[in-house]
Amino acid sequence: MMAQRKRNTILLHGFLIAGALLTLFPLGLIGLMAFKSNPEIFANPVGLPSVWRFNQLGEAWVNGRFGQYYTNSLLVAAPVIALVVVFSSLAAYGIVFAGLPGTTAILGLFMIGLIVPLQAIIVPLFHNLNGFGLLNSRLGLILSQAAIGLPFGIFLMRSFFLGIPKELIEAARIDGAGDLTILMRVIMPIAAAPTLTLATLQFMFSWNDFLLPLIIIQDPALRTVTLGLFYLQGGTYTLNYALISAGVLITAVPIMIVFFALQRQFIAGVTAGAVK
């Protein structure tokens, strides 16, 4: 019995390791290509490089402009996270605690945004941004991404606020605290978990967003990492597989490191965001 269980466990590990290797194979392949020369890639895409060309990573960073793209992505993601977290918390407080009439209808209006696909608003959004003079600007991208992130932010914060005992709010009110004080001193300190989840999700949405940058950003100097990756496969007349692979590697690895470091938050965030 014991022996059989042990054999089963080993068998299971075997299957799982094989599965894990298959899952990682595509990335490993790219990882190898990043260090090979183009003729080598053409000759044998799977083999090990004859010489490890580490300088290709630096080349992608500088000539492939990934340094610039990283900066752009961060300059967009950071304000988006801030806007969504602050505005969602305010709105959720207004809906749950401020004692305002008609909040059910307002909530309903915001929840429309939760079920509408981004593609359904993209064309008029593009023309409106153009009218506002916000096309081809980081600000246009930031405001659009934040606006699209708000419905889920409000949904998430509201669900959390509903679980806060009302006595806590009443007590603070009796002590003479105003609404803003209550939100900042009483509620936000205990809302760290949903705030972190929301921030993680918004970061992933902003960082991975492709469609909005694709239509909003035309200036190559303003490209985000995602957009920069996309344009790697075109735009110049001589496609460079080594450069593409290096670009993929230097954009995938940081995300993977962050993921394995914050695995629990990521998984919690993504499963919470599943409604989106």
């Binding site: 003079g133 916000l134 096309l135 035309q218 001589t238 496609l239």
Partner: protein, 442 residues
């Protein structure tokens, strides 16, 4: 109401951001915006130099460039122009499918008078100007003559013993060609037998196969025949058109293209070729600049022109101007914009287009002999004086282009026939003709 408040708030915040970023524009300067597509290194650098020099000569004018790739500019320029947010100058694909709708919507400045007043009608080569002429009026300033050609990897040709097939063209010692189209077939067959992909053709991106078709139609039917369709009663379902499609398809059937060209992007096809993976690459002279600047061991590569199918037809190729400069009709600074375009098309500028960017400008009487040109560019210059035909996608309406693009892909995976594709092109042509969407230079 609400919208206007938001607009004002957004406007205020953008203004603030603008001020914060410290872009202290001197108020008395005229600012001209230009959207262009010179993203390759050398032309990009040259355009920056042109701008700096023009600004130095005109201290009251500032030119702001926005460099876009082709897909981006196609997606955004029309609405930017329509909303009045667009640039003063834009560099955009010519032809009824691209510039045409903008002209019809009244967004492009009519330059007919300017051509006469500024002497451009005499300074520029006629046929490129015709490509930006609709209904007798001129709407743009072309900057480049380009045409289809066949690049070859000389090392591969040597290996398969076909290098000797390349011969100087009759009357054009600077141009290479072959004795006959059969020689090309023999060459491709030798490459295939030698284990090399004969033609590095990638047809994933719509329109790339159209260059081949335009070229093959020039070879099998000739420019005069195409003229009968464009300007007369000729038809796209003519047997000569079908023959051009048959030629396009026969290369696929013979295994001259890579496996599944529809899965290979244009850039991938080029990469295959430049990495020694193919004997030839049928594309256009626009690639010369990138070869000279970016390809290691560029001397391994050369190009030639395919001979025509019949002795009655002259040596030719499918030609176009690619994109053209044009001026927005809503621009408040048309004069300054046109001054800049005039500067770009001066003879001095022409020399630098050639020497620094490997671009052949449509400027009359350039003394190319005295210039320092790469050997490959010398060939391009020599070919520019041939009786060139049409690169069809930039002279045809959008519907027709779609029919042709669908044809280039469906012939390769066997889901259509040459006759059916030709018939679809004729249908699209008649529809566009009836709707007044076709190019009428004359």
């Amino acid at each position: 109401m609400y919208g206007s408040i938001v607009k004002r708030a957004l406007f205020a915040s953008t203004m603030l951001l603008g001020l914060a970023s410290g872009s202290a524009l001197a108020q008395d300067k005229t600012v001209i915006t230009m959207w262009d597509q010179f993203f390759s290194a050398a032309p990009n650098k040259l355009m920056d130099e042109f701008v700096a020099e023009f600004e130095a000569a005109h201290p009251d004018v500032q030119i702001k460039r926005n460099v876009l790739d082709t897909d981006s500019i196609r997606a955004t320029l029309p609405s930017a122009l329509a909303s009045g947010q667009g640039p003063d100058i834009f560099y955009y694909d010519a032809g009824p499918a691209f510039l045409g709708p903008l002209v019809q919507a009244g967004l492009v400045a009519d330059l007919t008078q300017e051509y006469a007043a500024r002497g451009w009608d005499k300074a520029l080569v006629t046929w490129p100007v015709e490509r930006v002429t609709y209904n007798g009026k001129i709407w743009g300033v072309p900057n480049e003559i380009e045409y289809t050609n066949v690049y070859v990897d000389l090392a591969v040709l040597d290996k398969i013993g076909m290098k000797d097939k390349l011969v100087p063209a009759e009357g054009h010692p600077d141009l290479l060609t072959l004795a006959s189209l059969d020689d090309f077939t023999a060459m491709m067959k030798a490459a295939k037998d030698g284990g090399v992909i004969p033609i590095a053709f990638g047809n994933r991106d719509p329109g790339r196969g159209g260059h081949l078709f335009s070229y093959f139609l020039t070879l099998t039917a000739g420019k005069d025949f195409v003229d009968t369709i464009l300007f007369g009663d000729g038809r796209w379902d003519d047997p000569k058109v079908i023959a051009a499609w048959d030629l396009y398809k026969s290369f696929n059937d013979a295994g001259f293209y890579p496996p599944s060209p529809n899965a290979i992007s244009y850039d991938e096809g080029n990469a295959l070729f430049f990495n020694g993976g193919a004997a030839s690459n049928i594309t256009g002279t626009w690639l010369v600049g990138d070869i000279v600047d970016q390809v290691p061991e560029a001397s391994n590569f050369d190009f030639f022109l395919l001979p025509s199918a019949s002795k009655d037809l002259p040596l030719s190729a499918a030609a176009g101007i690619g994109s053209t400069f044009a001026v927005s009709d809503k621009s408040a600074h048309k004069k300054e914009a046109l001054d800049f375009l005039g500067f770009l098309m001066s003879k001095e500028a022409g020399k630098r287009w050639l020497e620094q960017a490997n671009i052949v400008p449509p400027i009359q009487d350039l003394d190319t002999d005295s210039m320092k040109l790469s050997p490959m560019l010398k060939r391009v210059v020599a070919g520019a004086s041939l009786p060139l035909s049409y690169n069809l996608d930039v002279v045809m309406p959008a519907e027709w282009n779609q029919a042709m693009t669908a044809g280039t892909q469906s012939l390769l995976d066997g889901s259509s026939t040459s006759a059916a594709v030709s018939a679809a092109m004729q249908t699209a042509w008649e529809k566009a003709k009836a709707e007044g969407k076709i190019w009428k230079a004359r």
